[in-house]
Amino acid sequence: MKIAIASGKGGTGKTTLSTNLAAYISETISNDSNGQVVLVDLDVEEPNSGLFIKGDILKDEYKYRATPVWDSNKCTLCGECKTICNFNAIAQLPNTILIFSELCHSCFACSELCPEQALPMVDKRMGVLKHYQQAGNLPNNDKLTFIESRLDIGEISAVPLIKQTIEYVEDNFSDEIIKIFDSPPGTSCPVIETIKDADFVILVTEPTPFGLHDLKLAVETVKELGREFAIVINRYGIGDNGVEQYCLENNIQIIGKIPNMRQAASLYSQGELLYDKIPAIKEQLVLIYQAINRINR
């Protein structure tokens, strides 16, 4: 089962929820011999789940994507390629074709349509995937696996790396295992790549007018993708009841309300998990996990 944890913008508690929920689930299934939970940080431009979830590194591999390379011997400078590219990744100078591989989306169009076959696609490194075992904060916890991918500096498109990371997870873990995807912030292509095949999406928001504004955009995106979803309110107690009202009016389920507590902020800043130290937060995770199990059935 794939659960994507997303939010309309960054800084709403996406990582807090992802890491604490994953660690909490791994603890509750500790006596189940087949139980397993996988936390995947897909916020590849700024992965930070790893600050809270440690573990022993099992695998560390580079990820590549294909970009065109110009063959000056074959090229007739017809200019097709620069016209075809939708991403402005190709410029034509009087005697040269310039390719900006960091802007290239690996769509293969230029390569396939070049009349001279002068643009072969060649693999280029885009980032690193790391796979940790025995993650989590419990001694001998072998239930939690943590996977994170990090985009190389200068790379502009996160989508190919997110796609390959999800493929890696699918190849290595069977369907019934709970997988928690910490999504990139926002509502653009990287988020869509993360949630488009999720079985369930949890949207994290703050109970403020700004939070509500971003939440509405996120809800639209999730609805367009036809995903099942519910809301978790983080820092519950600040702001107003606008988010709750909106959810009520639109028949959207709120499956958890994580209280706003100073202790939480200070633990977070020290890279600590919260649920094992703050009972009020653990209570909410219990409710969220119950909601997940209802959907899983």
Binding site: N88, A89, A91, L93, L98, F100, L103
Partner: protein, 118 residues
């Protein structure tokens, strides 16, 4: 020689120079040989996610420009393309009219940019 001016509006010699290059509203190309001033819209490019500078540089190359003049900045990718195409860049015009920018350029009041802003 052909000279490209990045502009904020399409008002001939009275158009105001744009502070941005890749996301300028449009470009005027002035040909000293034929004394013609021609407008090229860049509006499609203004909203491009990435690579606006490359596209804008391509417009200058297509017009066989030798010089590009903007009001304030030149991004790294546009710089790279224009530099490789041996097109000289001048970015200190500010928000003056195309006419004023051209006369300042002719009077050697601008310095050629030799590195990108970033």
């Amino acid at each position: 020689m052909n000279i490209i001016f990045a502009v904020q509006n399409n008002d001939g010699w009275d158009s105001i120079i744009s502070l941005k290059y890749g996301r300028a509203k449009g470009f005027f190309c002035y040909s000293q040989e034929t004394d013609e001033l021609t407008y090229y819209s860049n509006e499609e490019n203004q909203n491009a996610g990435h690579g606006a500078g490359i596209n804008a540089a391509q417009i200058a190359i297509n017009q066989k420009a030798s010089v590009v003049i903007t009001g304030g900045s030149m991004g790294p990718k546009a710089f790279e393309v224009l530099n490789k195409a041996n097109i000289k860049m001048f970015t200190q015009a500010g928000e003056v009219s195309v006419l004023v920018a051209y006369s300042n350029f002719k009077d050697n009041k601008y310095n050629q940019v030799l590195a990108s802003d970033k």
